[in-house]
């Protein structure tokens, strides 16, 4: 239709006005590093797999997760979840239950029999992994995925390391552990059990291995000097827990004292209770708040009737009787002897005073640096001997399963690079998606799910799993509490709040694009992005 000059205007004529020229700063889409990803010792892309879990695509979620960590069902039970401590949601209501969702995914994978994808063609390289604990299994898994031939030599009768021999059944059912280990074996990782490596260099040469990853763990319980009568029953916690895997249950008697304040001490005490002890007492030289053990485990233990004797050290043990000295904290927080003693009727004393590494396989290997009972490694996880890498509890570390898995993955990458004659340079980290970068208004109020707990009575008498998992509704709920910090989750906010219609929606899964022809740089998009995935950068004028 023709129309009167100037008074009337055709649709679309404003598109000639490129208002992008007004800008002094422009919005750009960024991917920031969520704090959970940042602190995960295994380097999991937590935000990434929660994203898939949210939409019910559990398999994709599980595959994303297992890119970095092959043992989610285990981790969902034993990891101390530093991710949850770092989770930004905690500043809103409560941290996302990342750990419970990880467990859910791990369990779903086992239930559905999902397998890992077969690795690509072989590289022709062979790597020896010493120790089938979490670190060794993680390294073997990653190396196998990269196409290398991997063989694990495990000194013990079963694979699993501390997961089997240190963590009680009530925390980690053995069928779960077995399922996840066998999945790694199915990838083509050979595990030789009962095959202790005595001399590493010889073993490498004998097997024609191009590199080795040592992850023997710390399985020797520390002992301190305690004067004891000949009939006093004293054992270390590591041996106790290991012996739980055998056919015969150890006999500890009715009254068991555990000496120490770490998680192992608690595991030992709770195991003792389940073995039938009427009294399981933890003796610790300082106070509850000083205990290295995680507080929730202390809580669980207390609920099960474990007793705690604070500010006490053990002086001597005789058959059936323990002599304990009361301590008091001085001004610097150190326990000092008071000179006051008491006795406890005790059938057995379990020492949980820390663990040492069996470094004998490294005797005679040149170039190594041993300090404080652990092997020193460089940033690339390699020891002083070229081609011998190490990780897990045998190197300086926080000594958790997650850290061990992280070491395994990291070492595998460096081993792979080293085998190709190159160096692995990790990509520089993105900017951190801290809480101040979020616009939390857009997240609905949703407190954390509560995980079902086994009733106390049953907990005391059996080794059934104490903490239950989430069912699908709850897992979905929990996954959807994730704020997706720093990573676009296609909420359409930027597309909707731009006053100039200058955001182009590319379609599901493809996110958005700024139309810089018209974007005036007002910054509303960046302000209203819930997860902080938009940054305003100054224009070069």
């Amino acid at each position: 239709m023709t129309h009167p000059f100037a008074i009337s205007l055709d649709v679309g004529t404003s598109l000639a006005n490129l208002t992008g020229s007004w800008r002094t700063s422009r919005p750009v889409y960024v991917d920031r590093l969520p704090p959970c990803n940042h602190v995960c010792p295994a380097g999991e892309n937590i935000q990434g797999w929660l994203y898939h879990a949210e939409s019910g695509d559990y398999e994709t979620a599980w595959r994303t997760l297992t890119t970095d960590n092959p043992l989610p069902a285990v981790m969902g039970r034993v990891c101390y979840h530093p991710c949850e401590n770092a989770c930004n949601r905690a500043q809103l209501d409560e941290a996302v239950g990342i750990n419970s969702v990880e467990r859910f995914l791990g369990d779903v994978a086992i239930r559905n029999g999902w397998r890992f994808a077969q690795p690509p063609s072989a590289t022709g390289k062979r790597v020896l992994v010493v120790g089938a604990g979490p670190s060794g299994l993680s390294a073997a898994y990653q190396l196998r995925r990269m196409g290398h031939a991997v063989e694990i030599h495990e000194a013990g009768p079963f694979a699993g390391g501390m997961m089997r021999f240190g963590i009680p059944k009530y925390r980690l059912p053995r069928d779960v552990l077995d399922a996840e280990i066998s999945r790694i074996v199915d990838l083509g990782v050979g595990i030789k059990l009962n095959s202790k490596v005595d001399r590493i260099v010889e073993s490498m040469q004998a097997g024609g291995f191009d590199a080795a990853f040592l992850a023997v763990g710390a399985h020797i319980g520390k002992r301190s000097y305690i004067p004891a009568g000949s009939a006093a029953k004293i054992l270390d916690a590591v041996s106790l827990l290991r012996s739980m895997e055998g056919e015969e249950q150890p006999l500890l008697g009715r009254r068991v004292v555990v000496y120490g304040g770490g998680n192992t001490a608690l595991d030992a005490a709770r195991t003792a209770k389940r073995l039938g002890a009427t009294e399981a007492i933890i003796v610790y030289r300082r106070t509850r708040d000083r205990m290295p053990a995680h507080d929730f485990e202390v809580e669980e233990a207390l609920q099960e009737g474990i007793m705690m004797k604070w500010l006490s050290t053990i002086k001597r043990m005789d058959e059936g009787v323990l002599t304990v000295e009361k301590m008091q904290l001085d001004s610097t927080g150190f326990p000092q002897p008071t000179g006051e003693f008491e006795t406890l009727e005790t059938d057995s004393l379990v020492l949980a005073l820390g663990q040492d590494v069996d470094l004998s396989l490294l005797d005679g290997v040149p170039g190594l640096e041993i300090k404080d009972g652990t092997v020193q490694v460089a940033a690339n996880m390699m020891t002083g001997y070229p081609g011998i890498f190490a990780g897990g509890d045998m190197v300086p570390s926080e000594r958790t399963v997650t850290v061990a898995i992280g070491h395994g993955k990291k070492a595998a990458r460096h081993i792979d690079a080293w085998l190709h004659g190159a160096a692995y340079a990790p990509s520089s980290a993105h900017e951190l998606a801290s809480f101040d970068k979020l616009n939390t208004w857009y997240y609905a109020d949703a407190p954390k799910t509560v995980r079902p707990m086994l009733e106390v009575a049953r907990r005391q008498s059996t080794f059934e799993e104490v903490q239950g998992g989430l069912d699908e509704t709850n897992a979905l709920y929990e996954a959807r509490r994730c704020l997706s910090c720093g990573n676009c989750f296609e909420c359409d906010n930027c597309y909707g709040v731009c006053p100039d219609n200058a955001v182009i929606k590319l379609g599901p899964g493809k996110r958005f694009q700024f139309n810089y022809d018209y974007c005036k740089g007002c910054g509303v998009c960046a302000q209203e992005c819930p997860c902080g995935a938009i940054r305003m950068v100054p224009e070069e004028i």
């Binding site: 004529t13 407190p447 959807r480 909420c491 509303v524």
Partner: protein
């Protein structure tokens, strides 16, 4: 520390979209549950290339309202616009950024012109084509008030949308009868013994619209898109006189940062100064509860038009007066749920 000893609470509410309940869209919900603005097919009644300031709340409000109306009517909308910012920044010869049929007549007659459009559509046998009148607060509460009231009284089939940025912005930020007390404008400068706008009797056109007994009246804000769209869709399902009053921050006139537009609109609601409510045939039928209440000072602070209130005791007194107004609104419209939750 959450309680880990209880078994799972069966009555725990499961929001399957809790991540994005308040966002424009959400990849986890169906298209029907998302806002119109989330759709790749939205009309974009107001498209790129217009000359609004950066961060203009009115540009946003107009697109929100018009796209929702287009969706509700299957594209059968004719818009009539009063003189003002919206008209000027969208149709400077030779460019128009409207993609719908659009008419600008005068400053004070949008309601009457829309009446004429609606009458024409009826008489031409096209009653499915609906008329929408748009105007700013100046064109609605002041100069357009007579025509607005006439349209209400006749119950003409017009949806009148007022975009309230609380002053005559287009002519350089002069005071209108919608300007809040104490605000600085060019004709109520922050000078003299009582700087800024007077504390008058106030003029709530939404309330006046309710008093006319018309079929539907609602207030809305650019900070709550879902609510705004719902109200437009609802209005378009009703025949007769309807009035929608949308709060739209103006970065230039309010002296606020361009990226704060939605944030300020949100604070206005959350402090109680802009009550969001609905009414039908003279009776208020409901209000949108405040979710996280804030004191009015938090809303006033980022706006330079209120800066003079923060530098003196007299100013603090006037902030207290504004707080009293907010508190009255909260009481009158029941903006805080009894349980204290949204």
């Amino acid at each position: 520390m959450n309680d880990r000893t209880t078994t799972l609470d069966a009555t725990q509410k499961l929001h399957f979209y809790q991540k994005g309940t308040f966002t424009v869209g959400n990849r986890l919900v169906s298209d029907q549950q998302r806002a119109v603005q989330a759709s790749i097919d939205r009309s974009n009644a107001l498209t790129c290339g217009h000359r609004a300031c950066q961060g203009c709340g009115e540009a946003l409000g107009a697109r929100y309202a018009m796209d929702a109306a287009m969706r509700a009517t299957g594209g059968n909308v004719i818009a009539v616009n009063a003189t003002g910012c919206l008209e000027v920044f969208t149709t400077p010869y030779p460019e128009t950024s409207w993609q719908t049929p659009w008419l600008h007549s005068l400053f004070g007659n949008a309601a009457a012109v829309a009446t004429g459009v609606a009458a024409a559509m009826r008489v031409k046998g096209r009653p499915e084509v609906r008329a929408i009148a748009q105007g700013g607060d100046g064109g609605t509460t002041d100069i357009g008030f007579g025509c607005l009231s006439g349209m209400f009284e006749r119950n003409d089939d017009v949806l009148y949308i007022c975009y309230d940025n609380e002053a005559y912005m287009n002519t350089g930020v002069q005071r209108s009868s919608a300007t809040p007390p104490a605000a600085r404008t060019a004709t109520t400068p922050a000078m003299g013994p009582e700087p800024g706008n007077v504390f008058g009797t106030g003029k709530s056109v939404p309330k006046i619209a309710v008093a006319h007994g018309i079929p539907y009246v609602a207030t809305a804000t650019v900070a709550d898109l879902h609510d705004l769209e719902r109200k437009v869709m609802k209005a378009m399902g009703i025949h007769g006189a309807r009035y929608l009053h949308i709060h739209v921050p103006c970065p230039l006139g309010w002296g606020s940062a361009s990226q704060d537009t939605i944030r300020l609109a949100r604070l206005a609601v959350e402090c109680g100064l802009f009550p969001v409510f609905e009414a039908e045939h003279g009776v208020v039928t409901g209000s949108r509860k405040i979710r996280r209440q804030v004191p009015v000072a938090e809303y006033l602070q980022p706006q330079r038009r209120f800066a003079h209130l923060f530098s003196s005791d007299a100013g603090k007194n006037r902030i207290a007066h504004l707080q009293a107004i907010a508190d009255r609104n909260i009481a009158e419209y029941h903006l805080l749920d009894a349980e204290g939750e949204a």
